[in-house]
Amino acid sequence: MKIPLSWIREFTPVPADIDLLSLEAAFVNVGFEVETIDVMGSDVQGPLVVGRVLSVEEIKDHKKPIRYVGLDCGEGHTRFVICGASNFKVADLVVVALPGAVLPGDFAISARETYGKLSDGMICSAKELRISEDHSGIIVLPAESAEPGANATQLLEIHDVVIDLAILADRGYALSIRGIARELAASLNLSYQDPVHLIDSKKFDINTRGVQVEISDSTCASVIYLRTLEEFNSSATSPIWMIRRIEKCGMRAISLAVDVTNYVMLELGQPLHAFDRDSIVGTVKIRRAGTDSSITTLDGQERKLHPDDVLVVDDKTALALAGTMGGENSEVRESTVSLAIEAARFDPISIAKNSRRHKLSSEASRRFERSVDPSLAEFASARAADLLIQFGGARHVGSAISGEPRYAPIVEMDPNFVSELLGTVVGLELVEEKLLIIGCDIEKVSPTVWKIDPPSWRSDLSGPPDFVEEVARLIGYQAIPSHLPTGKSGATLSLKQARKRALAIMMANSGYTEVLSSPFVSQEMLDILGLETDRARSFRLANPMSESFPLLRSDLLPGLLTTLSRNIARGFKDLALFEIGSVFRAIEAPVVADEISTSTKPTPAQLAKIYSGVPSQPVHLAALMVGNTELSGWWGSGRKCDWSDAVSMAVRIIEETGNQVQVVSQTTMPWHSGRSAAILINGTPVAYAGELHPGVLAKLNLPERACGLVVDLNLIPHHEVTKAKPVWTMPVARQDISFIVDARISAQEVEAALRSGAGDLLESISLFDRYDQMADGQVSLAYTMTFRAPDRTLTSEEVSEFRTQAGAQVVERFGATIRG
């Protein structure tokens, strides 16, 4: 909210010499963020006076209208200036910058020849003086508002400091001069005059002579005042000071009736609405829309109503979308001579919903949403009536009221709680002083029981911690000491967390670069990847950032592939990327959530339902690689990555966790069905790895032979304690064996057969040669087996027998032919 310091000074004596840094600190210390401080008028210097238009000579034959204007500037002679505006007439009062004046933008005014005349000054627009954005014409002052020659700099209150403050959601009262002045006074330890105490509301009789009012639905509002005024002079204009204050607060002056309601709202924080009294039929009522279908608001828009919308209505029709915007039918017009001024305390949540449903955030709705002081309806409406009587010649006919203000309840607290929660001793006198400053009433029942009645404008003060915050911010958060507590000894990462961290380091050390890709996915991408079953069951966002990416990733590959493409587009050829993250799969049927109170802990059954309604979101590790995995260089050519790099990486990941794997070929998308594997633990697939489907790569415009792997980390069991393996130190014996076997027999099966035949003293086995260019679908394999005994040197006869037994197994199981 923008606040002119001059207005604040009306209610608290802010020192004239306060510097801007101290001013900013004063606000920040009590919890108000300062967006900007504008020293207005610092760029306006020299003589700026009021002039009366004596004569107007139109100078023709130019592209735009040009006037040669004679002015009485109180100098005893006529001053002539050239003016390009035409929104004024003889006898109007205007603002004249005399030669020697300097206007914003370093614009020096001097007497000069133009359009064949001597122009001895300049008639100013509001924008030229930087007092508003209005440049539609020059400023025409209200008639009789000043004498020619009067100091216009003072008249227009050009010199001022305007502070723009961010107002927090719980401080609705601070959307007013009244509230901000109180805060600044408290922060600077100054006296404070509550503007409400200057208002006499009792002089306006409550009677039945004016328009009557009724709150028909008490959930919409607690109290409403409606004051009826007649004999309003519709041609009366707002006083300059009122216009200037409204402008400094960032609003526009419109007409006296509207300006008064805005002025009082800015000053006190109570939004008001002025109705054309003659448009009202019968009684004004506050109720929900129900079956009413629409209202045309004063911005000319016809708005379809929601049954819960709160309306101000009369006996016939809707008059306003309550607290949000008035209706066109009851708007104050140029011909309006009777007014009904409404001041209500609407329900904050209802107004917030009004505003949100109709996408209408107004100065009024912003204040109602944040809760308005319930006592203000009476005083703000009286203040508005005062101003309309004073400046518009109106006469009060009668006021009507419905409902009564509802205030926040009294809070009982131990005042020592302030010290307990802040961790520093705050004397009870200080606690009392600060609570009184913010407007609380305190009844000290005993040294440890205070009954605190929060002020009418602080409906947010509902429990002891709220009062602790009030005391803390007024003594300053810097008064709180710094103490470092420590938690429970023996804190460690969980197994899951430790695994995730170790895996990431292992991937990075294996040449993979970690990326964190977007979890938002397009349907098109899922279609290209050809994902099926669980992998394709993605959740849809109701309000995605982009309609093209409405889905949440059900697999890490879509995001990783996009990131891969981006890196390729940036000129990289040899890439290995990985990501660890959650995926979202809509596998379980959605659970309709219950309304669950927060006034106590949910029951175990309620909790179970909350938890079960949240889908499980397994953590996956995925990687992609393309190009060389061993780089080429001056030493020679590199080595391209292939399916086996991917499969062995996936196997390594799982084996490092202490689990045994089984590798089987697989055919699901988006993999190359002949060059990809599923990796199983105890028969359950936990990972997929290999080359990506060539069609998928082509559609994504990715290089051929790109490979990848996806591991579901949640499916890999944890083995906390690794069992020791004996380290035998007797001499090793090696045996090679080679044979020819049907190529469809997997390497894993062959190895298993050899192992089963070789016996317990087999230490390791490795395939050192594989030749698949043979006829009849045969393949030639050659293995080295190493044997070791725990207690003796193996004889050549023994190991030769082991070899024979191993060979016998591949012959028996697969019909292999032993070659040597």
Partner: protein
């Protein structure tokens, strides 16, 4: 065979000459065969000692022994020289330019957000906190209601929060990691000391300082007698660990539904105050909703953006770098080895 002194001395001279003139280890090997080996003159003379009269045997034995030692010493000395010469030659011949770019496989790296998260977790593990994590798609009750953000709260609009279909299931992409705090309070008895890092979601367009998907780290402490001074001390410690010993912090009064009193924490870094995050004493309504007695326990919570922390600490100018996955960005940070 008869022995004669002159012949022995001649053989010694021949041997010494051959040793002296052997050009390399290969030649020296032949010298050993010719002059020291079993078939050499000296060896044979030695072998024939047994056939001599005892008196002669002693005389010649002495002579041959002395002379053979002379030869073998000379041999050993020469061998050492030639070995050194050979080594020197090999070292010269095999010289390479060791400044050639090293042979390597692909370079990997950890994302700096991962490194930062690990660092923060370790820092708080050291203070006795556990690391708590939870789902990114979360129930509205845990993300909002339990945190004193009832159904009508402004943050629960579609401008701020991603809602998941079907809406009746009341699932959102968590807007903060606070539901992890709620889950912990619901499941564990105090004392609770946890740090909650994780991915969070808000409906902000990606620009230089915002991203709809971002990292957050929150801390929660619930214990007997926890005060705002404890909060301040924890934040001071955290800030010093992140930004250096000289960093200053300040708390500014603020408002959050889930804390009371509430504050913004700023830190003074490289000449300016920077907004870091929100914090405060856990609102008693939150404690009640989680089944913790506010008369027995109090607590504090704080939360800050990981990206913002990273950007300020490492001088990253643009959020795009963090989210785009360009390998150059990530590889700059290595694998966290220090």
């Amino acid at each position: 065979m008869s022995l004669n002194t002159q012949a022995i001395l001649d053989a010694v001279q021949a041997a010494l000459l051959a040793i002296e003139t052997a050009a390399d280890l290969e030649a020296l090997k032949q010298v050993r065969i010719d002059h020291i080996g079993d078939r050499s003159d000296l060896a044979r003379a030695n072998q024939s000692l047994g056939k001599l009269e005892p008196a002669q045997r002693s005389e010649f034995g002495k002579l041959i022994g002395t002379e053979r030692n002379r030869v073998t010493s000379a041999f050993a000395a020469r061998e050492l020289i030639l070995m050194a010469e050979r080594d020197q030659r090999i070292l010269e011949e095999e010289r390479v330019d060791v400044t050639l770019p090293g042979r390597r496989s692909l370079q990997g790296g950890l994302h700096p957000l991962t490194l930062l998260t690990n660092e923060i977790c370790d820092l708080f593990l050291g203070l006795g906190y556990s690391v708590a994590e939870g789902p990114e798609m979360e129930s509205e009750w845990l993300n909002f209601d339990a945190l004193n953000m009832p159904a009508d709260h402004p943050a629960r609009t579609m401008q701020d929060t991603f809602f998941v279909e079907p809406l009746a299931a009341k699932l959102v992409m968590r807007t903060h990691t606070s539901p992890v705090q709620v889950r912990t309070m619901l499941e564990q008895e105090p004392p609770i000391y946890i740090i909650c890092p994780g991915r969070t979601y808000r409906a902000d367009e990606l620009d230089a300082t915002h991203t709809p998907v971002f990292g957050q780290v929150e801390g929660l402490v619930i214990d007997k007698g926890i005060t705002m001074a404890d909060l301040k001390g924890t934040l001071d410690h955290f800030a010093r660990e992140m930004f250096g010993e000289d960093v200053k912090t300040r708390l500014r009064p603020s408002f959050f539904p889930f804390t009371e009193p509430s504050a913004e924490v700023d830190f003074f870094f490289q000449g300016r105050w920077i907004e870091w995050g929100g914090c405060g004493m856990v609102n008693q309504k939150v404690l009640i909703a989680c089944g913790i007695d506010p008369h027995e326990y109090s607590g504090f919570a704080f939360g800050m953006g990981l990206e913002r922390t990273l950007m300020v600490r490492h001088g990253i100018a643009d959020m795009h770098d963090i989210v785009e996955g360009d390998i150059r960005f990530t590889q700059n940070y290595g694998t966290g080895l220090i």
